[in-house]
Symmetry: C2
Subunit: 354 residues, 2 copies
DNA sequence: CTGAAAGCGCTTACAG
DNA sequence: CTGAAAGCGCTTACAG
């Protein structure tokens, strides 16, 4: 088909076209071709124009491998996901984040090199290999843990690295500024402002830095505002969220509002409440830490913290690109806000049956 | 920290260790080192052992760039996504598929090279660049369209390619066998078996091959079984799905069951039905083409076609790996099944108020 | 401004 | 079995 459209096309089989081919055709040396195509001084304008013409005519493309061998950037950013495939498939955060990263990267001609690993140690090994191979110009690290081996390893390699999802106490490593504590403050302001003073928080995996930051802010707020607050340790598993919700609902003095650490957990929690005959928000308000279309279309619609994972990805990508370019990183803080929907309302303690 | 743990470690700055370093240390030529580390004949066992020891001691790793220059495989598979970041972030299919691909690839030491593109033409350009650069050993193409430019371009390059999401009429290109028609048959069997004979189908973008395959099977079934069937063209947009649902619900003789082409569309549709005061499944049954945790925890839970995007990704990855290895591709068909949940039930035409 | 050459790190014939 | 050399496709000093 392509051939039919352009019948004069030469039989393009095997044999890649190299700068040597261009040099021969243009009657110069390959060194001159290199200077010409790279826009470096050293060839006359006339020669340069001729060389460029031939290059275009021959449909030449630089050999990425050869350029990498010479130390050129690989134009790729690496990201390894150390979670089971099932979790990555369920949590909307990952696809949003990756989509955001991609949209910025692709605009600059960069690709994302993606790999999955069993655990943080395996992830660190992949990082090492990628860096030594020059396969990536920079690395994105997701969700730092307390005493994260990946951070320790990367800190020693001085390679562009951006950590996403929590602060890191190393000078050599930058992190996308996500203010988890501040976001939790917004959530608590929202609920407390509605009149809630018995609030529960069903958390994700507490080994993650970002989760512990949220928990700290949660406790802090409760202490400061005289709110009864209870965190229940979870692990992002919906079954576990359901169990925690049932336990909370069955308590002598149940909370009037529950904050869930992910969309999937929030939905699971709401479904549990419904099956227990509890109404949202009349009996208990629900808030999801992560927004999605599902939150918008559920019945009732779900109040959510919009971290906007897509723009978080965009920001992370922009920062790693700045780091790679050797520019100072302009940390644009990722804005989070509470999107107020139907699942949160003032508690109706004293009201009779609707 | 790493240094503290291993104080004898040499100052590992700059300068990568090459086979020349190994050769010098082991008292052989670099050619011998190459043979030794690659397990090729040409060196005595004693020499080989000595060389391997030195390589290990020096923590040598082959230069990926140099090997690629010599024509070695890149150990990466390419996938470009030609959809807006927002869509990719919302549709659970993508993250599941990518997670599945990854889990198989990572097990074999392969990475996924990912990029986003504006449209199919831009995607084809990225494919060309990747192939010419030797950056990927194989390419995965998602959701072929009618007269897809990507397929036309790839067909001419004889490079390992696997198409996912629809059949393709080219001998040189293999596709993961997803039986869209058969799956639609399962859905219709399910609904018809429950007693529905007025069924609507709100579709995704009809320019996609897999959607048109589903539509054909839908029409076919309706004709064969005397079912009143109506497809409404959509484009995966939840707002559009809501509108289509409202139109269907407001019809003089509304359907008793609606099939939606994606999870997001199904949820949007259900929310519309609820806001119109229609009960699911009492007034209308709803079925989603794509399963997810959300389908399991919604109220009512949603009957869904489980294509199992994760295993679809695994299968696609396994097939591209076989193609790369030059092995015959064993097409394991991807099994789809209808997971019956609360959102579908027998139509209650004649029944009075509950 | 241009030419000739060395080198990036590896692999692979080709002689000894 | 081993050594010496050419070559993959490019870049970059270094002479003219």
């Amino acid at each position: 088909m392509a051939d039919a459209a352009n019948p004069a096309e030469p039989p393009r089989k095997r044999k890649r076209v190299t700068i040597a081919d261009i040099a021969e055709r243009a009657g110069v040396t390959s060194g001159a071709v290199s200077l010409a195509v790279n826009g470096k001084p050293g060839v006359s304008d006339a020669t340069r124009a001729r060389i460029l013409d031939v290059a275009r005519e021959l449909r030449w493309r630089p050999s990425h491998a050869a350029q990498t061998l010479m130390g050129k950037n690989s134009e790729a950013v690496g990201l390894v996901l150390a979670r089971p495939a099932e979790v990555i498939g369920e949590e909307i955060f990952f696809s949003k984040f990756i989509a955001g990263v991609q949209s910025t990267l692709s605009g600059r001609g960069y690709s994302l090199l993606l790999q999955m690993a069993e655990d943080a140690a395996a992830e660190a090994a992949i990082h090492q290999a990628w860096i030594l191979d020059g396969r990536v110009d920079g690395i994105l690290v997701l969700d730092p843990r307390i005493d994260d081996p990946r951070i320790a390893a990367l800190a020693g390699m001085d390679h562009p690295t951006i950590v996403v999802g929590g602060q890191v106490d190393r000078d050599s490593i930058r992190s996308v500024h996500v203010d988890n504590g501040g976001a939790m403050g917004l959530i608590m302001d929202h609920l407390h402002g509605l009149g809630h003073d018995r609030i529960a928080y069903v958390t994700g995996d507490q080994a993650f830095r970002h989760i512990s930051e949220r928990m700290d802010a949660f406790s802090q707020f409760c202490v400061d505002h005289g709110v009864w607050g209870q965190s229940l340790a979870g692990n992002f598993d919906p079954a576990q969220a359901r169990e925690a919700t049932a336990r909370l609902a069955g308590a002598p003095r149940p909370p009037t509002a529950i904050v869930f650490d992910s969309e999937v957990m929030a939905i699971a929690g709401m479904s549990t409440l419904a099956s227990l005959g509890l109404r949202v928000p009349a009996d208990v308000s629900v808030l999801s830490w992560e927004d999605s279309t599902t939150c918008q279309v559920l019945h009732p619609t779900v109040t959510a913290l919009s971290r906007d994972a897509v723009s978080l990805g965009r920001t992370a990508a922009a920062e790693i690109l700045q780091l790679i370019a050797g520019q100072p990183v302009q940390q644009e803080p990722v804005v989070a806000r509470v999107i107020h929907r139907e699942s949160t309302a003032a508690p109706d303690r004293d009201r009779g049956p609707a």
